[in-house]
Amino acid sequence: MAEVSGVKRITDIGPHDYNDFLHPVIKKNYGKWKYHEILSPSHMVHVSEDGDKIYTVRVGSPRLVSSSFIKDLCDLADKYSGGYLRFTTRNNVEFLLDKEENIKPLLDDVGKLNLPAGGIGNVVANIVHTQGWVHCHTAASDASGVVKSLMDELYEYYVNAQLPTKVRIAFACCLNMCGAVHCSDIAVLGIHRRPPRLIPDRIVNLCEIPSTIASCPTNVIRPDTYNGKPSVKLIEEGCVFCGNCFTVCPGMPIADPLNDGVSIWVGGKVSNARSKPAFSKLAVPFLENDPPRWPKVVEAVKTILDAYKKGAHNGERVGEWIERIGWPKFFKVTGFEFTKYHIDDFRLGEATLNYSAQIRQ
């Protein structure tokens, strides 16, 4: 262990052992759970082989939270769940209770903090999202603001189960997609639409030229010289606006207020239930950024949800519904325009064409 100014440093201890944080009922029944029952969109019970029960109360969070928010949760946990709580991969908070009678007062207190309880069952799950303008340098759109605007509008779908089955929505503010939105029922993805601008002074001083050239998926960044130093030039026609070059080379900024915005993708899933995991497919190629509330994005997502709610059978995910009715009908019922951008012309894109005469005429 190295020392810094005389202090013995602790390193490489890894994550804290989870066993220190498990509720006693969970410890006792680890690996012995028999079944669960969803009692409402905000709570469920897991029952073990011994008949022990653990109640879970689920509460939504905005993911970007203050220390005070966490302390509010801790106070609730102390009061009702013996101090035990956990988070889900979709940024919900779960209180773990062994006393059924604590559920209602906990839900009341959650309500007093103006927090939503829900997210279990046939709901719109909490939207997973990325950093956006709040904390990232490559963002084509904000993340928290779009998500907040969407969840305000979809609130009833989170707290009440009224959909054919669960709908998972995700948001990523650029093609890096820190969060696997590409396999979501509905994905909102920030995109750029204008090639990067070259700032030669920065390129020659800050960038490693070979890796900058290699970063481009369409090979449109080519070697060049500037004041006798190695630099790059760009063939704008082939750029797909991915921003990868900017990631490697700060001399090629791509953000552009007039041309940045979001695209909307539908019908992906990660679970293996029934059909195989699938990528989301393009529904709306571009909507401009209109902060603070992105009304067009909210409207487009609502349009998809309404059509899905109306058309899908019980238990059908968005992708399964579209698969059953066919893509032409999806565009018809949503009113979205089908354009040449919807036809994949990137590598392996041919695999997405229709090589059959099977058409719902």
């Binding site: 190295a2 810094v4 602790i10 390193t11 490489d12 201890i13 890894g14 994550p15 804290h16 052992d17 989870y18 220190d20 944080f21 759970w33 079944y35 669960h36 029952e37 897991h46 939504g60 905005p62 993911r63 970007l64 939270v65 203050s66 220390s67 005070s68 966490i70 302390k71 801790c74 035990y84 709580l85 988070f87 991969t89 939503p116 997973v128 990325t130 303008w133 904390h135 963002a139 907040k148 305000d152 093609l175 890096n176 696997a180 396999c183 290699a214 481009c216 991915c242 990868n244 953000a255 207020p257 990660v270 679970s271 293996n272 239930a273 995991p277 990528f279 902060p291 603070p292 238990g315």
Partner: protein
């Protein structure tokens, strides 16, 4: 309310029923003055529709090449509080379980030494403390290690592995995902903290095909629970479900392999040899059905986001891995497999090439041969349909090999 800045656009986002991140930033600013400038800069981004964070700089704690993500405002004179506003990634405990005591300690450190603003959790799994100044990083690091928490991965290194809740609170779990995740994370501390890879590498552990960690879409190595024997059926409970809904319409007809049948006299029958462990029937009737008792996992490899060669899902590498048996051996077999994969990646991969892209480039056949695995029909949806086969040998008239 921001003390220094007018934020009419952000104020709009305080309205509505969903909890507001703007309120959260304001509450953080009450604890940490520096965070007030974040409100100003984000408001400016909302006005101009453009981001104001920039590239550049080298930040970290001594000896580690990861765990800190440098972040600098491009308007430092205007927003001095967030001139340096780095992310500190802190390893989550497996399954994201906490006690209120430890959570308070975690956020206290953020209040005392940084922005008071957190992600619970980032998409990789870590707790993210957003907004630490360079000079505070070493102190923050030492405070967290004293509390028993270490930094996560970033850069060309292993990311903090993550897992589903598994056996702690899910009856569908086919293996102990939390134990596996924690053990593997502990085993590869060096690879997480001292970047030596071509690019990032992610493990995610889900204990059944529902894949609650979305591992198949966003882990270089996805470990997804499955089972070998028969689905456990409680026929009485099946009958109860049959009273509630049409079992044919919602269960048997939707079985992708059409391996189940139901009638009131004989009850539910499953041809388990043809069941693909998709979880649909179990999800629909959790009180009546449970996975078998011989649990294990399928190992898949190679999913990644679109950069650079397009997005990928993970593909099957090992159809059935007896992970519970290997667990008794401290996951030696698994660690050996990982070492072989990393050696191959080190040998043949190039800078910023994910393992999935490398496999695509060299061909899955060559890859599995190099790491000592056999080709298996479970790896493909179907055998190839095109006849351009790279046969590796031929014989000559004399019987010699070419």
């Amino acid at each position: 309310m921001s003390k220094k800045h007018k934020t009419p656009l952000l104020d709009e986002l305080k309205k509505g029923k969903w909890p507001s991140f703007v309120n959260e930033i304001e509450r953080a600013a009450e604890k940490s003055e520096m965070t007030d400038d974040l409100l100003g800069q984000v408001e400016q981004s909302y006005e101009e529709k453009v981001v104001h964070w920039k590239h550049g700089g080298m930040v970290g704690v001594k000896g580690y090449g990861s765990g800190i993500v440098g972040r600098f405002s491009d308007l430092p004179e205007k927003y001095p509080g967030i001139k340096e506003f780095h992310t500190v990634r802190i390893n989550q405990p497996s399954g994201f379980f906490y006690t209120s005591d430890v959570l308070r300690s975690i956020v206290d450190i953020g209040e005392k030494h940084a922005s008071s603003l957190f992600n619970f959790h980032g998409s990789t799994g870590d707790v993210q403390l957003l907004g630490a100044k360079t000079a505070e990083l070493e102190t923050i690091f030492q405070e967290y290690t004293k509390l028993g928490f270490d930094l996560g991965g970033s850069g060309s290194a292993l990311r903090t592995p993550s897992c589903c809740v598994g056996k702690a609170r899910c009856e569908f779990a086919n293996y102990d995902a939390m134990h596996a995740c924690n053990s593997i994370t502990q085993a590869f501390q060096d690879e997480m903290h001292r970047p030596i890879f071509n690019y990032k590498f992610k493990f995610k552990f889900s204990a059944c095909g529902n894949d609650c960690t979305a591992s198949i879409a966003r882990a270089d190595l996805s470990v997804i629970g499955t089972w070998k024997d028969s689905i456990r059926i409680d026929q009485e409970a099946v009958k109860d479900y049959a009273k509630k809904f049409d079992l044919h319409k919602y269960v048997t007809d939707k079985c992708p392999t059409k391996c189940m049948s139901y009638n009131a006299e004989e009850g539910l029958k499953i041809d388990d040899s043809n069941c693909s462990k998709c979880m649909h029937c179990i999800n629909t009737m959790p009180k009546a059905l449970r996975p078998g008792t011989k649990g294990g996992a399928t190992i898949l490899i190679g999913s990644k986001a679109p950069m650079v060669s397009g997005p990928r899902l993970s593909m099957v590498l090992v159809p059935f891995y007896d992970i519970e048996e290997d667990a008794k051996n401290d996951y030696e077999w698994f660690k050996d497999l990982i070492s072989k994969i990393w050696e191959f990646w080190d040998e043949y991969g190039v800078n910023r090439e994910r393992i999935g892209e490398l496999i695509q480039r060299v061909g899955i056949g060559n890859f599995i041969e190099s790491i000592g695995l056999e080709p298996l029909p479970e790896m493909v949806a179907s055998p190839r349909g095109n006849p351009f086969v790279l046969y590796e040998e031929y014989v000559e008239a004399g019987g010699e090999q070419g």
